[in-house]
Symmetry: C2
Subunit: 404 residues, 2 copies
């Protein structure tokens, strides 16, 4: 069996952790499997390198930043190879150049285009465990690129797809995907499996387990993912194509606190106003999530929408500068909100899910400020102080701690 295993930065943070992970890899080798392990940079290495760059430049060139931070993963794979040698196993480390990890041109947030399988195959055939740098690639100019957040997950999935691996295991600091964040909802339940689409909705709604891009890629190439912990022996969660029989009404709840609500009050109620607002934001690379338009007083209307909290100050500056032109009487911004989402493939055929959710929140005394829905997801904006109350209420209402 060919297994791709991915370990994040905390899993390889120091010599002891490296040895521990080497042990996990060795177990597979002992079983006769061929193993490719994708590693992130050790612990806080990437952040430390970024801090070094910022000592020199407030806004360093992205090309040079990628050149700088891509060294972190290279150190991890070299050290892991040494640890495996020390235990008596054959191993070799490869970086993005050596593998041939081809990406788009853009720096800092590149996308994988193609992975050469030749070198990896040669090394596997020589009996080596192959240790590959996550998060990084090489573009057409032969420059290092990095893949952005969750990049190492994407590397692992892409390698699993390119090499036709039998398994792709993503080791994290949690034991799998849960119905809700176990730190918030006490009786949250670990899922045995979840579909790609559900995982995508959960990921984009704030669940930190897997990054969207890696799930999208897994879906496209039908790579079955296994999310599990590097610290325990517990069975993890499989992320795979949905199987109808196992379809859950609600798979999980996610919370996203990185939201801000923006309200434009008293816009003239004439066509094109909304377009102007969102065109302005889009041209400034500010993504809008939930949108609510309401009729205001005296022939005016109000528009509310949510953005990432990181964009709050930029949005404030932008809207204030264009207040006149947009014809808004007042602009309000608030970071006192959070977005709660429930996700489940079973929703499609169960129209009562939304009202059940709203009822649970009503009974818990939680006010709903905005609503957004997709085929398999319902999101509501609520006051941030109500997050725990709301999650518990929803989790109970849908009996998510119970059996499938």
């Amino acid at each position: 069996m060919l297994i791709v295993k991915k370990f994040g930065g905390s899993s390889v943070a120091n010599a002891d952790r490296v040895r521990h992970v080497a042990g996990l890899i060795a177990e597979d080798v002992e079983k006769g499997h061929r193993v490719i392990a994708v590693l992130s940079a050790q612990g806080d290495t990437t952040d430390e390198l970024i801090a070094k760059a910022h000592e020199i430049s407030a806004n360093p060139s992205k090309r040079e930043l990628d050149m700088l931070i891509s060294t972190g993963e290279q150190q991890s794979v070299a050290l892991m190879s040494m640890a495996l040698h020390e235990m008596g196993y054959k191993a070799i480390s490869l970086n993005a150049f050596q593998v041939g990890m081809h990406t788009t041109r853009v720096y800092g947030n590149s996308r994988l285009k193609r992975i050469d399988s030749e070198r990896i195959n040669v090394e596997l055939d020589r009996g080596n465990v192959v240790l590959v740098t996550g998060f990084q690639g090489v573009n057409r100019y032969e420059d290092y690129t990095t893949l952005g957040r969750g990049g190492s997950d994407t590397t692992a999935v892409a390698i699993a797809a390119a090499m036709h691996a039998d398994r792709c295991q993503i080791f994290t600091d949690v034991e799998g995907v849960y119905t809700a964040d176990p730190r918030i909802v006490k009786n949250a339940r670990k899922l045995k499996e979840i579909s790609y689409d559900e995982m995508l909705e959960l990921a984009s709604q704030g669940a930190k387990v897997l990054h969207n891009r890696s799930v999208e890629m897994a879906k496209r190439y039908n790579v079955v993912l296994e999310v599990l912990s590097s610290m325990t022996r517990a069975e993890g969660t499989l992320v795979k194509e949905e199987t109808q029989v196992e379809r859950l009404l609600i798979t999980g709840i996610a919370v996203d606190k990185n939201v801000a609500r923006v309200s434009l009050i008293g816009l003239a109620d004439v066509p094109g106003r909304a377009f102007r607002v969102f065109d302005l934001l889009s041209r400034n690379n500010i993504n809008v999530d939930i949108i609510l338009q309401s009729i205001g007083r005296e022939g005016t209307k109000d528009i509310s929408f949510t953005i990432s909290r990181d964009d709050m100050e930029a949005t404030r500056t932008l809207l204030e500068a264009n207040k006149e032109q947009l014809g808004a009487q007042e602009i309000q911004l608030s970071d006192q909100f959070a977005k709660i989402s429930i996700v489940g493939a079973g929703m499609i055929s169960n129209p009562g899910v939304a009202s059940k959710m709203f009822e649970a929140l009503y009974n818990a005394g939680v006010n709903i400020h905005m609503i957004s829905t997709s085929e398999i997801k319902i999101s509501v904006l609520i006051a941030q102080r109500n997050v725990e109350l709301a999650m518990e209420a929803i989790h109970d209402r849908f009996n998510m701690a119970g059996s499938i």
Copy 2:
């Protein structure tokens, strides 16, 4: 003018030093020169990475060690590029893969074979300062290699040769090449120039300014080197083909404390004994420097020789294990010696130099234990406690502080 500048680890140890070096590079750019800068890893980075490897393995694979430590230079060049950008200059960093820095296969102590000039030329033509990782290369397997001690000097010289640079400046923490170590001999004089051969003898006799391999390469490709300080504006020393008119009797004195003396006492005075000893050492990769054979008592002879102090324990073990077979009555090892060498192209035509040196030592009360000579060098082994006394005496005797 195309200028290659090389800066060592201490010259780029932190953000302030990086900015300072960026300033030196910028001065050349302002004068209209094209600049390639070769950088070492920052400060103690390489040692820290080696320590990390040793946390995992007492004897890490050299291939993986090179993979690990080659990240240090990559960080330096990326940071330097950012510093130049910050000052408003165009710059780009390149590592061994990107340049095409081809080496022999061996890890840890590889030799440069060929440097592709294409990428560097393209970047220079775009108006970039090109920042190249020193010390590292890529071998035929597309694996990182490192060049061993002084490797970044070699990289700089090789690039200067490949690119037909007009100048190759090696920045160090001293202002140039001196007649003797200024920390030992107070009135040591900085040389305006020195020939490749003299520099080679000085380097191999313990002068730390330039590494042998870089000087050999400079000689082979006739690259004029300029050794100067990154901290002061003082004129440095030129290392170049010798020009007869400027030939000095003695160019410099070097001291090497990394020596140990080995004596085999009471060997049977029959043919082949010496061969057996040195064959044994050679097969165990122990290099022998000065050799002295003397007649001992009662038909026996004694053999003394010097080795690197690093090899002392290995040599002791080896000789003790073979004592019987070698037929030695006694084996003595001592690290209480030092080797003092005087170097000068002018020696060839001045047979009186050796006796002048011995006279100076005699007058200073310094006993000579062994002697070795080449065309342009005389080395003597003396007690280590006499090093300063001896250097002062020789320096004075040859009037080395005086005018040329």
